[in-house]
């Protein structure tokens, strides 16, 4: 029999207690945090009552980073130390970053796989900058909800590739957030929209943000949100419109290409203001201070602006066509078109979308908040606050995954728009006698040539037993989880010899790098670090015990004989004991032992619930 446990207040979570979970929209321009309270999702405001947090971080010497509105205001005067639109830098390499003329930061050494921006406050990576934004939102949520967060759902553009997703998850870890799920932004919007309307049908979500564009086609049926296809451009958004307008101002005002950073920031700032004015106005005045402090004044009409941004808006229509094609649908099959993202306020965007889909898009939900609200609903469910909720999101992988083969060609292993989670294996062989190593290059993208796709990782498979060419069977398995994140494993099959594998992410961070950053961010206070790692393990232990206790109460007798039950109780007691102490490794070990002991039980339970789901269905059929 299990002993009764007496725990200190706050040390173990009481069953059925509401877990604090949030949805976070980590946007290019602005970020938001939302939560579900009394069944309603709402975005959380800061002390000043502001919901939108500008995604801007300023680094200064000897001071902590400045995040949000104050940093945004400093951007024009302190451009080199103020990072804007960091989302566009996530998971990108130096070469890609240098192409961005208006975000010409100074970058540190070329040798690091992850680019670092030089600031007065030190060199920072995009992941660290994003983590600062997430920390502010986490603090805001904890202050507002009055407790520690159980976890967060963080949204990413559907068209984000693996490197960009991984970078986002790293940023969350760095900010001390437990990521319940990475959720695609259009899917989040569909949740907010679909739960609101409670109607079945096929909807298209057109999501044009500050720096990314996504189009997703979803089928809503009885609470299941099934993404049929997604397409987009992870480097196209309102920022690009600002740049087009800024270039026009430069030409009009006679500002040369060698303008300094401060001048460029002023240009972008003014361009953005002009763009926003022209949402309602037909014409607006434009004013820019040149480097010699003289001022240029002019005006821009909406018609003129439309010409400047025409090609950008047009670039969003081809992905719409492709998504429909991939979903196997025609325009008439779409029952609703939902607009998401601040850039859908631009009148020309609405016009083009309406013309393409042949119906007026829905603009009645706040395009800035809808993604965070949808993420909050999902977070509430994932945290376990709604055990009876039938909502289910079935998402897809946005870009094909493949491997490099002979001649620099890419062999696709998983096609785009495949429902996740998904796994696929591919067999390879050696091409030389006695070959003992093989290098494997993982790529993402639709093009045929390696150089046109994104390089995700390079693997070395070593210790292949020497054989004649073509005799070895090397099976490479791709697994994409529900976050859309890829893991790759390789194994030599014919000999049964376990082969070693080395992973080196091309642009992402390695685990050791994340840990190093975590350590650095703790101000070198190692006790804090240890305390935090201990806390994480304790939470993991609680989660395991809580889940198991609930399961045992429900069906322990059904699936376990006395001996098995006694074994589980014993392991649970030991875990409970070590959980109260501060030995991280001991807790890890006790969790592993407990899991091993109840492995059979967990499997029987899951099979049982599948059987219930299937047999319940059969009864229904008999009755009807």
């Amino acid at each position: 029999m299990a002993l009764l446990h007496i725990s200190e207040p706050g040390q173990t979570s009481v069953p059925h207690q509401r877990r604090l979970a949030v949805g976070i929209d980590l946007g290019t321009t602005n970020s938001l945090v939302a939560t579900v309270r009394s069944g309603l999702a709402e975005t959380l405001a800061d002390e000043a009552g502001e919901h939108l947090l500008p995604s801007v971080v300023r680094y200064r010497k000897g001071q902590g980073p400045q995040v949000g509105q104050s940093a945004k205001e400093a951007a024009p005067t302190d451009p080199m130390n103020t990072i804007v639109s960091v989302k566009r830098l996530m998971g990108r390499d130096l070469q890609e970053l240098r192409k961005n003329e208006f975000a010409a930061y100074e970058y540190a050494g070329e040798e690091s796989s992850v680019p670092r921006i030089c600031t007065e406050g030190g060199d920072v990576s995009a992941v660290e900058v994003s983590a600062e934004i997430l920390k502010v939102l986490r603090d805001r949520a904890e202050a507002s909800l009055g407790g520690e967060l159980t976890g967060a759902v963080i949204t990413v553009p559907a068209y984000f590739d693996d490197a960009q997703r991984q970078a986002t998850k790293d940023a969350a870890r760095l900010a001390g957030l437990h990521v319940l799920r990475l959720l695609n932004e259009p899917t989040a919007a569909a949740v907010a929209y679909g739960l609101d309307k409670k109607s079945d049908g096929v909807i298209a979500i057109y999501d044009l943000g500050g720096g990314t564009f996504d189009i997703s086609v979803l089928r809503l049926k009885k609470g299941v949100f099934e993404v049929m296809a997604t397409a987009g451009d992870s480097a196209l958004g309102g920022d690009d419109m600002d740049r087009a307008i800024a270039r026009w101002i430069m030409a009009q005002a006679g500002i040369q290409d060698d303008a300094d950073h401060a001048q460029l920031r002023r240009l972008l700032h003014e361009a953005r203001r002009v763009k926003e004015m022209l949402t309602d106005a037909d014409e607006t005045s434009v004013e820019i201070t040149r480097m010699d402090n003289t001022v240029w004044r002019g005006s821009l009409t909406r018609m003129q602006m439309n010409e400047l941004i025409n090609s950008l808006v047009k670039k969003t229509i081809n992905p719409c066509r492709r998504a429909l094609r991939d979903a196997g649908l025609s325009i008439d099959d779409i029952s609703e078109v939902v607009m998401v993202g601040g850039s859908t306020r631009v009148p020309m965007v609405r016009e083009k979308v309406e013309a393409f889909f042949n119906k007026p898009p829905l603009v009645d939900i706040d395009p800035d908040k809808v993604v965070a609200v949808g993420a909050a609903f999902q977070a509430d469910i994932l945290a376990g606050n709604k055990p009876d909720e039938a909502m289910l999101l079935l998402d897809v992988i946005p870009l094909s995954l493949g491997l490099e083969t002979m001649g620099g060609l890419v062999e696709k292993v998983i096609n785009r728009n495949t429902t996740i989670p998904v796994a696929r294996a591919q067999d390879f062989t050696t091409y030389k006698d006695g070959q003992t190593a093989m290098s494997i290059h993982v790529l993402q993208g639709e093009r045929e040539m390696v150089q046109d796709c994104r390089s995700l990782a390079r693997f070395s498979l070593r210790d292949i037993p020497p054989m004649v060419a073509g005799a070895a069977r090397i099976r490479v398995t791709f697994q994409v989880d529900a976050d859309g994140l890829l893991s790759v494993a390789a194994e030599e099959q014919s000999s049964g010899v376990q082969s070693s594998i080395e992973v080196k992410p091309t642009y992402g961070l390695e685990d050791s790098e994340v840990e190093q950053m975590l350590r650095d961010s703790m101000d070198h206070a190692s006790e804090d670090m240890v305390a935090r790692m201990l806390r994480e393990q304790q939470v993991e232990a609680d989660r395991a015990m809580e889940a198991l206790t609930a399961a045992l109460q429900k069906d322990g007798e059904k699936y376990l004989d006395d001996e098995e039950r006694a074994g589980i109780d014993q392991q649970m007691d030991s875990l409970q004991t070590v959980r109260q102490q501060d030995d991280i490794e001991a807790i890890k070990l006790a969790i592993a032992r407990l899991e091993k002991t109840c492995a059979g039980y967990v499997e029987r339970r899951m099979n049982g619930s599948i059987q219930d789901a299937m047999s319940g269905h059969k009864i229904e059929e008999f009755e009807s």
Partner: protein
């Protein structure tokens, strides 16, 4: 019926092994299964349950992919009936079929030179699709049989379908490219 990762894809959905599949029923069963095992149902569960849920969901998704696709489904049924595939070693020896494929390939390469390329490509896609349908229809009959000669014939059909399917995908890619260029 216990859930078993080694059991065949049809029995996962509680369906008999048959080339003719009720797509509505399949999707309904699929949704019910995933409602039960999807990782979202285990986001706050133990690491062990999360792994199991990922494994099951992955398997069910793969089963659905195979059963939904007429070509994959035919290959799979033939495998269940004990047929082996050694893709690279066998060649098709059907001059009529090969000629037809060469003709289609030639028209595909000439699409851009046509006065209305989009109409030309639509025509090719339509004839390739109807070739596909013809084969699906024949397979519906053949795959009910367990006679070795019928299964051999089915296997040849499936291999032809693989050629046709590849052509169809190339044609669709070209159509997408042409539309994007507009």
């Amino acid at each position: 019926m216990p859930f078993d990762l080694t059991s065949n894809y049809f029995s996962i959905f509680g369906m008999p092994v048959s080339y003719t599949v009720d797509a509505g029923f399949l999707m309904q069963r699929y949704r019910e299964l995933l409602q039960t095992v999807h990782p979202d149902r285990f986001a706050s569960a133990s690491g062990q349950e999360r792994r199991l849920s990922l494994q099951y969901s992955t398997h069910i998704n793969e089963a659905l992919r195979v059963l939904k696709d007429p070509l994959e489904r035919a290959r799979y049924i033939l495998e269940l009936k004990g047929m082996q595939w050694d893709d690279e070693q066998t060649t098709l020896s059907d001059p009529g079929f090969l000629m037809q494929q060469m003709d289609l390939r030639e028209s595909l390469s000439e699409v851009r030179e046509q006065s209305d390329p989009l109409e030309a490509i639509a025509e090719i896609i339509s004839s390739v699709s109807s070739l596909m349908q013809d084969n699906i229809h024949v397979l519906e009959g053949l795959l009910q049989s367990d006679k070795p000669e019928d299964l051999e014939t089915a296997k040849t059909r499936v291999r032809k379908m693989q050629f046709i399917n590849k052509m169809k995908m190339e044609a669709e890619t070209l159509e997408a490219t042409l539309e994007d260029e507009l």
